[in-house]
Every structure is written in structure tokens, then in C-alpha cells.
């Protein structure tokens, strides 16, 4: 049975694959590269960081409280490096939580917001001002900029979620017969002109885990990892992934652990 040993074998295989693969980075003769570089250099997503900061420290919600007492795993209000270790197990909720589900817990418990209301607004419409959760997620993650992803699987529930995420990554369903791996299992692949990140490769998965939340050029708002997963299932013609659900957290745990060592740099810029 693939217990610990199988896990190592899988990592080793992934590594061997890295060695042979050419980097999928923009090359000099890439006709798209010039534009991508120009856009990424000046990222409008930065305009959301200040907003997220003021939302974090403002007294808000029915309980008129700020988020300063929110514990993202490093102690109440400690944000430096917090997202580098997420998802992780939280004893108070007895759950493995990612950044956004933890934020949701705090907005409900500390500020008294209604969970369904926050969830309903969490993913903003394109070409809007964006949602509070998007701005907050960006601000909180930006406090880990420059730090390395360092997710641990020391709690049994973290292991369970990791394995669930792996299972989901390869689980095919729906009328397109897609799992994640159909589009993200090989190097240098594109859907139309859009690059598909090679997530069974260390470099690829590191790029994923270190660049969200990101400014999405086509939507003109900051998007989060929860949105990224929701949107993938939408394109796969599957039902709508519930915000902050265990399924989403399992996939994020799987990806983030694989991406350990990546240096966080947000906001990312996506086409």
C-alpha cells in the first residue's frame, strides 16, 4: 500500500520529470512574452493591498470588531508568515483550514457576520470593485511576501486532507472526463493561447502556490485560490464548488504541500 514510501516515490518521480523538462518561462522569441512582462511589472492588484489592510483593522460587522484577534495559526493577529503555513489544522474548529476558510471563521465568530452572506459575496463580479474577502486575502498573504511556503502534514487530519487532495487531482468526472491532471500534468501545454501550469512538476506547482491572490487582467479584480478552483470546475462543466468547502481545502493542501519552498510574491498577475 502506498504509505510513506509511496509518497517518497511519487516525489522522486516528479523530480525526475523536472530534470528532463524545459522551463516553460517566457522566451525571447515568445510573441506573448513582451506583453506579459509589461503587464506584470506594474500590477494593479497592488491597489487592493491598502484596502485589505484597512478592512483588517477596521471595526466591522454586528460585533463591531476588527480582525486583529484572528488567529491564522501563529497566534492572534500575527500575520507574518502565517499564509506560508496554510492550510493547517486548527484545534478550535477541529478542521484543516486554508486562508479563506479561516478568514471566514473569524469574520463569523469575531465580527458576527452571517456566513452565507460573506460566502455569497466572496467572489466578486468581473469589472467590479472586488469583494472584502478578496482584498483581505491579498493583504494577509502580502504579509508573507518573501517568505517560503512551509506547509506541514504533522497532524493526522492534515495527512488525510493531503491524500484527499491528491485523489481529487486525479479524479475524472463529468462530460469532459476531466480531472485536474488532464490539463496540468504535462510541461509546455496551452488551452488556446493560455499557458497551463505543469502542476506535477515542482517548479510549476511552486508558481501556483506563491502567486495567489492575483490580479486577473481579464476580470480587472483580485482573484483568490478559492476562485481559481471554482473556475476550473466551471470550465469542466461540473457543478459549482462550494466556497471554503473541504473539497477545495483538500486540493489546496495537496498543492501547497507540493509547492513547499516557493517564495511568496503577491499579488500575482494573471492574463
Amino acid at each position: 500500500m502506498p504509505t510513506t514510501r509511496g509518497g517518497i516515490a511519487a516525489i522522486l518521480l516528479a523530480c525526475l520529470a523536472v530534470g528532463g523538462a524545459a522551463p516553460a518561462l517566457a522566451q525571447a522569441d515568445d510573441p506573448l512574452g513582451v506583453g506579459r512582462k509589461m503587464l506584470a511589472e506594474d500590477n494593479p492588484g497592488e491597489l487592493w493591498i491598502e484596502r485589505g489592510k484597512s478592512l483588517f483593522y477596521q471595526k466591522r460587522g454586528p460585533r463591531n470588531a476588527s480582525l486583529e484577534q484572528c488567529d491564522f495559526g501563529m497566534g492572534p493577529g500575527k500575520l507574518e508568515g502565517a499564509t506560508a503555513r496554510l492550510p493547517r489544522y486548527f484545534p478550535d474548529t477541529d478542521k484543516v483550514q486554508d486562508l479563506e476558510s479561516r478568514l471566514l471563521t473569524c469574520m463569523v465568530q469575531l465580527q458576527g457576520f452571517n456566513r452565507d452572506d460573506v460566502v455569497k459575496r466572496a467572489i466578486s463580479r468581473p469589472a467590479s470593485d472586488g469583494s472584502d474577502v478578496e482584498a483581505l486575502a491579498l493583504y494577509i498573504t502580502s504579509r508573507s511576501n518573501g517568505m517560503k511556503m512551509n506547509v506541514s502534514l504533522s497532524h493526522q487530519k492534515e495527512y488525510d486532507m493531503y491524500k484527499a487532495g491528491e485523489y481529487l487531482f486525479y479524479r475524472r468526472s463529468g462530460q469532459t472526463d476531466f480531472a485536474c491532471v488532464q490539463c496540468h500534468g504535462e510541461a509546455n501545454k496551452r488551452i488556446r493561447l493560455q499557458d497551463l501550469i505543469h502542476m506535477t512538476d515542482q517548479k510549476g506547482v511552486q508558481e501556483v502556490v506563491s502567486t495567489w491572490p492575483a490580479y486577473r487582467g481579464a476580470h480587472f479584480v483580485v482573484r483568490t485560490m478559492q476562485w481559481r478552483l471554482y473556475d476550473c470546475f466551471w470550465q469542466m462543466r461540473l457543478p459549482e464548488l462550494k466556497y471554503a468547502s473541504d473539497t477545495s481545502i483538500a486540493l489546496i493542501t495537496y498543492l501547497h504541500y507540493q509547492g513547499n519552498g516557493a517564495v511568496i510574491s503577491v499579488p500575482g498577475f494573471k492574463r
Binding site: 479524479r171 501545454k189 462543466r237
Partner: protein, 212 residues
């Protein structure tokens, strides 16, 4: 590169060993736990649409984790199920109108669920452009699947080729079990008539895909 990679592997294995007591659940437990999550974590406007998440036998076989290989028996079962799934158009004609096929090949919409609503369209797009190079010189095409440029030029347009092409679009797994290619006819994403138009788009000498 190789060295850094090895180091990373060692660190990872150390982390796993130090974790000590925590062990991965066995695959059956993971499957049970995760399938429960999937059954609870999605919403759809109707219960019928929610069923899209339920795997059929072939999808279950084809969801292999990591580099696990298909056994011969599994591959044979997938091929057998695929062959049995293929239905032909009522007219019996496998080659339709390449112009309609051209439009379909470049249409990536249809049947998605967002905001509690199903995307309403007369018919679904064929999705080809997402993954395959099409007519020569087209820029906005994907490369997840093989290039289809000059498909008919290379193969001719005999009846046998038309039948093979139809079947490969209807259910690619009849020929390549568990490949990345969606079983577009078998999953009812496309109708048999739509597939005949795509066959024409691939084979007709007048089709842009066969222009030099």
C-alpha cells in the same frame, strides 16, 4: 537542477519520517472520505446536474493516481465499454457539413453552471480549438492534444477513415483507453449529428483544416 531536486526529495522524506506517527490513510479510506466530500461540496440547479459528479465505471478506472499504469484487464474493459457506447446518426451518414463543423470546432461554450444557472444554448460547442491546432496559421489554438492541421490531407477521406474519425470523436477511449480526449459523444456533450459535421471539417478537401 538534479542536485536541488534530490535535496528536496530528501527533505520531504525526512519530514515524513519525523512526522512519525502520522500515516497516510489507505487508498480505500481516502476514496471513501473524498467521495463523501464530493457529494457534499458542490451545488447545482437540479439534482440531475449534480449527478455529473458521479463517476461512471470507465472514469473510475481512468482516475489513476500519479504514474500508476492501467492493467491490461482495465484497458480492455475501458475499450469494451467505449465500443458499446458508440451510436451512429439516424441518417447513417457519417460526413456532415464542414462549415458547421468549423464553427463547432471553434466554439468552447455550452452547458456550464454558474450562479445557480445552467448556461442555456441551442447546442454545445465542440471545444476542439481549446486543445488542438486547427487550420494552418491559426494562432489561438491549444496544444494539449495533437495537431489536427492537414488531418484529411494526411489520411484521405475514405469511408473507413470517416468511420474511424467519427468513432474517435464519439468515444476516443475505444482506441486510446483513458486518454485525455473527452468522450464527446458518449458523455452526451455532442450529438451524433454534430460529430458528423466535425468529421466533415476534418476530412473535406475544402475545409480550412486541409488548406496548405
Amino acid at each position: 537542477m538534479g542536485k536541488a531536486c534530490l535535496k528536496w526529495t530528501m527533505l520531504s522524506s525526512l519530514a515524513l519520517i519525523f512526522a512519525g506517527c502520522a500515516t497516510y490513510p489507505d487508498p480505500a479510506t481516502t476514496r471513501q472520505m473524498t467521495e463523501k466530500m464530493v457529494s457534499e461540496d458542490f451545488t447545482a440547479p437540479t439534482p440531475a446536474l449534480l449527478k455529473r459528479l458521479v463517476q461512471d465505471r470507465s472514469q473510475t478506472i481512468c482516475s489513476r493516481i500519479g504514474d500508476a499504469k492501467l492493467t491490461q484487464e482495465e484497458a480492455a474493459e475501458v475499450v469494451k465499454l467505449a465500443r458499446a457506447s458508440i451510436q451512429y446518426p439516424a441518417s447513417g451518414k457519417l460526413v456532415g457539413d464542414w462549415k458547421i463543423g468549423d464553427n463547432l470546432a471553434h466554439d468552447g461554450a455550452g452547458d456550464r453552471i454558474q450562479g445557480g444557472r445552467l448556461e442555456k444554448r441551442k447546442e454545445n460547442g465542440g471545444l476542439c480549438q481549446n486543445c488542438h491546432a486547427l487550420a494552418p496559421g491559426e494562432i489561438n489554438v491549444g496544444n494539449v492534444g495533437p495537431s489536427l492541421t492537414g488531418y484529411g490531407l494526411l489520411r484521405g477521406n475514405s469511408e473507413a477513415i470517416a468511420k474511424l474519425t467519427y468513432e474517435r470523436i464519439y468515444n476516443a477511449w475505444a482506441y486510446s483507453p483513458c486518454s485525455n480526449m473527452p468522450r464527446l459523444g458518449a458523455t452526451r456533450h455532442l450529438t451524433p449529428e454534430q460529430i458528423t459535421h466535425m468529421v466533415a471539417y476534418l476530412l473535406d478537401p475544402q475545409s480550412p483544416i486541409n488548406k496548405r
